[in-house]
Amino acid sequence: MDTATSNSIIRDLKRINLISGKGGVGRTTLAAALARASAAEGKKTLLLEIEDDSGWDSALAKTFGRKHFQIEPELLEKNLYGISLSAAVGQERFLQTFLRLKSLTDLVMGNQGVRWFLEGAPAFKEMGVFFHLLIQMRSDFDTLILDLPATGHFVGLARLPEILLKMIPFGPIADRLREGQKFLYDRANSAVWIVTLPQPLPVSEAIELRTVLQKESLPFGGFILNRAPFNPFTEQEEELLEGFSRKSPAGKLLVDLERIRRFRESRIRLKEALASGPERAAFWVAPESLRPEQELLMSRNLKKVEC
């Protein structure tokens, strides 16, 4: 089992961790690996994802041999639970606390007008997801790991309270929005992690996303640079080889070496971005694996980059 070492990324995780990143960067795999590592340390861990109404199987649930997660925390492995956050569940739970009586909630949810409104009106879907998340944040889990969708919806979700509070400054909805906001904006207990790849564009996007977090005052946990290439060389050897291949008749680097160079550049750029930021943040590197089953052990292979 993974044991706690000073080098484990688990030390850098907060209670609430939002794992973000563009499509194809390996975000879901990392979220699953982090959750497993956290559970292996004896922490009661909840792995969350946002429901996807397109009817496709969930890639995250698939990692645990399931098609989908349930709408209540479900035991996946020792200490590890999974849940799918659902808009409808969130809306209903909220109404229940507001109206107190289950029968009354059923009556209101049964009202065509209210149902149409909740299904159709803009932002109410996200609000439901947000309430469902809030319930989990209040729970007694030691660690929460949320695999965020790849699209811009993420900043949408984090910004949701702010937007809605403009419209709904008082009342029961506003109270819950503020409560959720307090969880997410609390630097001691929450962090957004940005997963990226060792290529120029993904690195630029990661740095941009970090700027957005800063602007929104969301706590930033750090970068996770995924799929670091296999590299048997020392730094001196790398330099030597680059010098040689530049002088070679083709005038081009070996494809294989070029990948290593890109990784080095990515690491430097991310390090610089961290150095120029106001807050202390971590930087971890995950190696590429040739076989998918190796990815389950990924968290053990994560290496911290000293900044």
């Binding site: 563009k22 499509g23 194809g24 960067v25 996807d52 397109s54 496709w56 890639a59 109404l95 507001f98 209101v108 009202n111 065509q112 007008g113 209210v114 149409w116 409104f117 299904e119 159709g120 009106a121 803009p122 932002a123 879907k125 996200e126 969708p149 790849a150 699209t151 811009g152 919806h153 949408g156 910004r159 937007i163 809605l164 403009k166 419209m167 709904i168 400054p169 009342g171 029961p172 909805i173 564009l201 996007e205 941009e208 296999f230 048997p232 060389f233 050897e237 030597l240 080889l241 040689f244 680097l253 070996l254 494809v255 294989d256 070496l257 070029e258 990948r259 890109r262 040739l290 998918p292």
Partner: protein, 357 residues
Amino acid sequence: MLKDALFEKRCLMVCGGGGVGKTTVSASLAVAAARVRKRVLVVTIDPAKRLLQAFGFDDALLQEGGAPLALSGEVLGRLGLPADAGLSVAILNPKWVLDRIVTQSLNPGQGSKLKDTVIYREMGQMIHGLQEYTAYEWVTRMLTDDEYDLIVLDTPPAFHAKEFFNAPQKIRNLMESRVFQIFIPSGSSWIPSLLTFGWVEKLLGEKVFRESRMFFETFTGLRDRIIARCGKLAEFFSQRDVSVVVVGTPESTPILELEGLIGFLVEKRIPIEAVVMNQVEKSSTFDRTSWEATVSPELLGKLDELKLHQDAKADRAFECIERVKARHPGREWVEFPMVYSLDGFEILRQNAEKMRD
């Protein structure tokens, strides 16, 4: 054949999961098409403006309203195109399209009332499918205006690639949903509406209720137009000159999404022109003999190790592609290699070159 499509079609939609390189593929297709067509436009909704960067444009050139930008002779040259080739690039901002619809459909007073609501201002983020809908609206207009021979559309990143195709129906459902009826009671249903009002107002508070009401009241003016347009979009893909290019990468999870997308398109009878396999790992270019004289045996050993590693990746990609090809016989497959050492223009030029074969 994709080659023929670049000659004949009027619109190619480039679709695929996140991170598979839709933007690069779109740009490559446009470059290939610009060899044979006079007026080619490649358009994206990606807010990261990667398409502009791919063609060497500065973000600052992007004008309010999103007018297409024509590539300069110098850039065309670097892409291997003649100086008089007609290739333009545009970035679509859903907000501009929506503003235009509002201006065209509502009187100025109502229009500005609608634009003032928080809901409208934040709408792009709040309404699922809106981005996609505006892309259809925009492409349809460009095709009607006939300013371009071919439009290559780089579809926006989504939870799942197929959301793009479901967007018109989603928007239509929203427009036809009864939420409008809550706020706009029609003659006979005023009693249930009144009853609902109380609950909704109590739940939301007076301010949001007022805002929502104003939004839905004014938005009703746009509703009919949007519903009508969504209906037309259902026929969009039955046009003979529109088809889809599906993009994927040869890795286990992206392949699943790619196959799901192909299945979905087949089921919806949306024509697939070709499947592009992007970022395909190729065998190592390491040539031992040319290095033997220059480096130490120890370093040579490490280079061998690196070569083995690269070749294993290439083999894995090859097997992955062969397996998926076997499952989808009769489709055209195009491979774009994973490249690390080329500049952006060179990648596009070489990809475009591949499509001539």
